[in-house]
């Protein structure tokens, strides 16, 4: 009479869901804070793996890999010259609006990337150098700047999109360009025919548009944590943001290379808004012809790009 068989909970132990092996457990809390109803989320561990290991590996590999590749390429190919030399005549290429849009985006991007990388790599790289306290200031400033420059970046992105989308729609010629890789490996300086933007640039454009918007969307959601999703969603957003950022950083490194030391005459387009006639003929023959035609129709006056009007 004294001792009973083990008396189990109403249901047996096996029927108490809590005691069943399960990965994630979500219950209820009386405080009005949904995210606190997660009891255990073991994927925190995977996320931590990603954040403190894979993100660094991916971002580092992509960025450094791209730099290494470009260095090799530079050693092999050097600056791609204008094969006919500079003509001295200028063809207008990007108006004030184009350049405003580009540089707004570009500068913001660079700041975002640098501040982002500071957050990503500061702990292993900067803390040993400047100490915890100084790094916290740096990191805090970085997040602040990162958040702040998200705004011009997004605006620039929209402008770029509006300004250049029409010239970046894919066309047949892009296939040829891609097949020959834009003739970059052709020392003779033969470049396939291209319109205002060649297929490579189009790729950059779309990478920037899609990547940029993806970063903007994921970034804004990271700034407003838990506004639309729970903890799992936040982790995914962060992973996406980090991976896309890493990819874009690599792509943009290449872009910057081409736009500067990679190719003679290219920078002028964004720097001054005009390009050397020979550069135009070589890289964007079809566009050049269109420009010439338009110029004629326009009494010989220099002609700005449509979008700049």
């Amino acid at each position: 009479q004294l001792y009973q068989n083990p008396v189990n909970p109403p249901t047996t132990k096996e029927q108490v869901p809590l005691y069943q092996p399960q990965e994630k457990l979500v219950g209820t809390v009386s405080i009005p804070d949904e995210k606190l109803s997660v009891l255990v989320q073991p994927e925190g561990r995977e996320w931590r793996e990603f954040r403190s290991y894979w993100l660094r590996v991916v971002a580092g590999t992509l960025a450094l890999g791209m730099l290494a590749l470009l260095t090799l390429f530079y050693l092999f190919r050097g600056t791609i010259p204008i094969s006919k030399g500079r003509s001295g005549r200028w063809v207008p290429r990007f108006g004030g609006f184009d350049r405003f849009a580009h540089w707004t985006t570009a500068v913001s991007f660079l700041i975002l990337a640098i501040t982002g990388l500071i957050i990503t790599f500061g702990r292993p790289l900067l803390i040993p150098l400047i100490g915890h306290e100084a790094f916290t200031s740096t990191a805090y400033a970085s997040t602040f700047l990162h958040n702040f420059f998200a705004i011009p970046f997004t605006l620039g992105l929209i402008l770029i999109f509006v300004a250049w989308v029409r010239d970046n729609l894919p066309e047949k010629a892009d296939l040829v360009w891609l097949r020959t890789l834009g003739g970059v490996l052709n020392k003779a300086g033969e470049h396939p025919e291209a319109g205002r933007f060649n297929a490579g640039q189009k790729l950059i454009f779309w990478a920037v548009v899609f990547g940029g918007f993806a970063l903007a969307v994921s970034g804004v959601l990271l700034m407003l944590p838990f506004s639309v999703t729970g903890i799992g969603g936040m982790q995914i957003l962060h992973v996406l943001h980090g991976l896309i950022a890493s990819l874009m950083i690599a792509v943009i490194i290449a872009h910057i290379y081409i736009g500067t030391i990679g190719m003679e005459g290219a920078f002028d387009a964004m720097g001054r808004g005009v390009v050397d006639e020979n550069w135009a003929k070589e890289h964007h023959s079809r566009w050049y012809e269109e420009q010439v035609l338009a110029m004629r129709a326009n009494d010989g006056r220099p002609m700005h790009h449509r979008a700049a009007e």
Partner: protein, 969 residues
């Protein structure tokens, strides 16, 4: 640098001690972490601009509770939020309560608290407390001085007394009072000249008190929380201690673990208590008698009852058998909804694992059949021979922190302190104690009849305001109400309460908070709010559920302009002009009566419940030496209290000098009476219809009378020849009391306590040794019978199980059968298809005004809700978290609350917590509170939709079964 916040060695229990020893090893090494920080070159400074701490974590240093290098004084008090009576350890610096520590040494709580107890420190920060006296002038709150308040209130009350008689004032006291304040308030009402004085027990355990006192003598929990650890089976019925008495749960869960005891919960809700059950029985609300008789049916059927026990100690069980016969499994299932198999299993579990304990609370008591419910469960325990046995018992969990004590102190419309009743003898006894002339006392009342007539109870005070004068059996309807420590949202039928409130000419609320009474706009003048302080700002004793008295030390001085209850009562008495008479034997310092003196007066007068051994000195000693008490038996094994039960659970017979240890388990014959043993009380005569009511062959150990015996009187002493044991002084007193009839002086009225002493000396219990009554012939239902609730969800059963006939009591009419049948015959059931029941949340207490003002608690329950089953919700298109209207069947009542869709509640039933107020029919009343005193969380009051229905014995309100309709809002 180590700045010690606590002086002296920290008090801790064994778990903590073992943990702490591990800790010591670890502590030295924490230095390393500082080393680590040094190398990281930390210093605040340049950081300030960028990394400013968010405002929410910044506190002014002086606001933080910890002030280093300031002396810490530790004070011990008792949690004010429920009857478990957990010890609160307060650390006080510079007169401010700055830290709270676990009270490891308390045998009851052993360091534990629930959410409320762990946050009581906030009470003396009191951000939302009433800060000074206020008066309502044309709907505006006006600050006034205490002097002005007492003067104006006093004048108005005296005028009402003059014009309408003393019974026109309703004195509503509190189970939050200390014993001393409860006693004093009862005395105040007596001196004022009325029995219209009541407190929460009416709406809480009045039916328990009536039910069990009528069964075996005393209206109290028989065993203790701790003793549940000895139980071999636990039956919880109509109680949810996991929320309402959380610190009783460690005892219950330990019992479950140690003894692998079956743990059965009978409740319409799958409560948090049920979550730990081994057997959960979902019952239709209001069918506890059928359920109990159903269990007993199996017990009788299988001969599981304790036949010898019944023969020796129970009267009238055969009449019960006859009633139980009607409750075969099929009938039980038809009425309660519980499958026959399960009822049988429950019966078997509690029969085969004895001692088994039955634990009940509001699901049993707050019923139109409350007293009968209580009686049925008592009879069940008698049948199993579980009363008077460690591990068994009727463990009736009381409500407020001192509802047991306040009841014992007679803060009640039907009795003077210590259940002496209202008869002439009782008044004479107390006139002697108070040292006032009986005739003077009588002259305070409107008439001798009214002096001896039960007053108007809390549940019906507003009826006594709004009913036609001829329906109220006193000279005048109520004109004024003086409320000390009672919420305004805790009595049913609030729409009608509002009508009463509007019609009162004077309303005085003396409370730490304005209470719901203050938030209604019905009154624009004639309301006074007096800031009373809490029990942490005064001292005195409180009696927890297991009858232990605990002395609470004042932690801090009353905050703001608040005053303690003693002072407020003194100021009123002085204004009324009878302070000198009333405080004849009580020292008053300035205007504060000294609680120790009040307790001494209680010790001198409350003989019948054995409130005599608990002198202030002994109680204080117990608090100081808590550590010496065993954590299960609650008996001190060492130290100055050696042999005592903790808190001298009453009865502690005779003078304190006798050192009676108190009774851990009531009616326990296995012990000598001086060792805490006892027998059933002989209260109802010695025989009935030729059958003896005294015990047969049963007596407490060591008794010189080895059989039943009646209560002790002088005559009986003489018959036994024991009168020779009385001292001359004792004889003198008896002579003086008895006058020409000294033989009639009984143990209850002998102020010398000589009769008690002599009885004890011979091993006898002064109150006699009788049988418990399975049949209580003086009650409306001598043997409990099932009666459907007034608002029965089963109109088809109403004819078969009707309510009692309409009647009058407590100066008022009581409708029952007529109302019930009218409802059953109408289409009400179709329009109100849900059963509505109500109850508690762990975070809030009572009307909730205190706890909803405490941010640490309020954050955890931010909205009033109603639980509804997913099936019903789906049918009605209600989503979890959506707003709904709950309509009540009377007075177009309605409440707008949030839907909590959960299977916790059965199909067809709706549950609402009753702790909310401050909304009325969808409108917020926040603006009506005096500025700065509105509780943080407001919500609709459950009682705005509860309905008519009263227990015939005590006028207990029906809060647990009514009908309602639910619609999406």
């Amino acid at each position: 640098m180590l700045v010690k916040r606590s002086t002296g060695k920290p008090a801790r229990g064994s778990l903590a001690r073992s943990l702490a020893s591990g800790l010591a090893a670890g502590l030295g090494a924490t230095v390393d972490r500082r080393g680590f920080l040094k190398t990281s070159g930390l210093a605040a400074g340049g950081m300030a601009a960028l990394s400013a701490l968010p405002a929410t974590m910044i506190r002014k240093a002086e606001a933080g509770p910890m002030v280093p290098n300031v002396e810490v004084v530790t004070r011990k008090n008792v949690c004010t939020h429920c009857s478990v009576g957990c010890t609160v350890i307060a650390e006080v610096q510079n007169g401010v309560w700055t830290g709270q520590e676990p009270g490891w040494e308390s045998p009851i709580s052993q360091g534990a608290h629930c959410a409320k107890g762990a946050s009581v420190r906030e009470l003396t920060k009191g951000e939302r407390r009433l800060k000074y006296p206020l008066k309502l002038v044309d709907g505006q709150w006006q600050r006034i001085s205490w002097d002005q308040a007492v003067e104006e209130i006093g004048n108005q009350l005296l005028e009402i007394r003059q014009q309408s008689g003393p019974d026109a004032v309703f004195w509503l006291g509190s189970a939050k009072f200390t014993n001393e304040a409860s006693y004093l308030f009862r005395k105040l009402a007596a001196f004022w000249g009325t029995n219209n004085v009541d407190h929460q027990a009416r709406i809480c355990h009045s039916t328990t008190v009536a039910g069990v006192a009528n069964t075996w003598g005393y209206g109290a929990m028989t065993n203790s929380y701790n003793d549940i650890q000895n139980a071999k089976a636990l039956l919880f019925i109509g109680g949810n201690p996991a929320e309402a008495h959380p610190v009783s749960m460690p005892h219950a869960l330990r019992g479950k673990e140690r003894n692998r005891a079956p743990y059965i919960v009978i409740d319409p809700r799958f409560t948090r208590t049920a979550a730990h059950a081994t057997e959960y029985v979902r019952i239709r609300p209001g069918t506890d008698i059928p359920m109990t008789w159903g269990i007993l049916w199996h017990i009788f059927e299988n001969g599981w009852e304790d036949k010898e026990y019944i023969r020796q100690r129970v009267y009238g069980m055969d009449e019960v058998r006859a009633e139980v016969k009607k409750w075969d499994p099929a009938t039980v299932e038809r009425v309660t909804g519980v499958p026959g198999e399960q009822v049988k299993r429950v019966a078997e579990l509690i029969s085969k694992n004895r001692p088994s304990t039955v634990i009940w609370c509001m699901g049993i008591t707050q019923k139109t059949t409350g007293t009968a419910n209580v009686r049925a469960l008592s009879i069940l325990q008698l049948a199993l021979g579980n009363i008077g046995v460690a591990g068994g018992g009727a463990n009736i969990y009381r409500g407020h922190c001192n509802v047991q004590g306040a009841t014992d102190m007679g803060l009640d419309v039907s009795t003077l302190p210590s259940y002496y009743g209202l008869a002439e003898g009782a008044w004479k006894h107390f006139s002697r104690v108070w040292d006032v002339d009986y005739d003077w006392m009588k002259a305070r009342f409107a008439s001798k009849d009214l002096m001896e007539a039960k007053g108007i109870p809390t549940t019906r005070w507003f009826d006594a305001v709004i009913y036609k004068p001829e329906d109220i059996e006193q000279p005048s309807p109520l004109k004024a109400m003086f409320v000390m420590g009672h919420g305004g949202n805790t009595v049913t039928r609030m729409p009608e309460m509002l009508k009463g409130l509007e019609k009162l000419s004077l309303l005085v609320v003396a409370d730490p908070h304005p209470t719901t009474f203050a938030s209604f706009q019905q009154r624009r003048n004639g309301t006074y709010l007096l800031p009373a302080c809490t029990s942490f700002e005064t001292d005195g004793s409180r009696t927890c559920s297991n009858r232990s008295l605990q002395w609470g030390e004042k932690v801090v001085e009353p905050i703001f302009e608040s005053k303690d209850d003693y002072t407020i009562m003194y100021l009123m008495a002085r204004k009324f002009g009878f302070a000198d008479e009333m405080f004849k034997h009580i020292t008053v310092e300035n205007t504060r009566p000294v609680p120790e003196d009040i307790l001494r007066e209680i010790n001198r007068s409350c003989l019948s419940t054995g409130y005599t051994g608990q002198s202030p000195e002994r109680l204080k000693m117990h608090m100081k030496h808590q550590a010496d008490f065993d954590k299960i038996t609650m008996r001190a094994s060492d130290g100055p209290c050696k042999g005592d039960y903790y808190g001298l659970p009453w009865p502690s017979w005779g003078h304190p000098e006798l050192r009676h240890p108190g009774c851990g388990v009531l009616y326990d014959t296995s012990k000598h009476v001086m060792d805490g043993g006892g027998v059933f009380r002989a209260r109802f005569g010695v025989e009935r219809n030729g059958v003896s009511l005294l015990a047969d062959d049963s007596y407490s150990q060591g008794s010189e009378i080895q059989d039943g015996y009646p209560e002790f009187t002088m005559a009986m002493l003489k018959k036994l020849g024991w009168d020779k044991d009385l001292t001359p002084e004792e004889l003198n007193v008896i002579q003086a009391i008895g006058g020409d009839k000294p033989d009639e002086v009984s143990w209850q009225t002998d102020l010398s306590m000589g009769i008690i002493r002599v009885a004890l000396k011979h091993g006898c219990v002064p109150h006699g040794n009788a049988k418990a009554r399975a049949v209580a012939w003086n009650l409306p239902d001598p043997v409990p019978v099932h009666r459907e609730p007034i608002y029965s969800p089963r109109p088809d059963l109403v004819k078969e199980y009707p309510a009692i006939p309409d009647r009058r009591d407590f100066r008022l009419p009581q409708l029952a059968r007529s109302l019930q049948s009218k409802i059953a015959e109408s289409d009400l059931r179709q329009r109100f298809p849900f059963i509505l029941t109500s109850g508690r949340l762990v975070e809030y207490e009572g009307g909730g005004e205190e706890t909803r003002s405490n941010p640490w608690l309020a954050e955890l329950q931010q909205s009033m809700f109603a639980e509804i089953n997913p099936k019903d919700a789906e049918r009605l298109g209600i989503r979890n978290g959506a707003m709904i209207w709950v309509y009540g069947p009377e007075n177009d009542a309605k409440a707008k609350v949030m839907a909590q869709v959960t299977e916790r509640i059965g199909v067809g039933t709706v549950f609402m917590p009753f702790h909310f107020s401050g909304y009325w029919q969808g409108e917020s009343l926040r603006g009506n509170y005096p500025p700065g005193t509105d509780p943080i969380v407001l919500g609709e009051a459950a009682n705005s939709v509860t309905t008519y229905g009263y227990d015939p014995v005590t006028f207990m309100q029906e809060t647990k079964v009514t009908l309602c309709r639910v619609e999406p809002a």
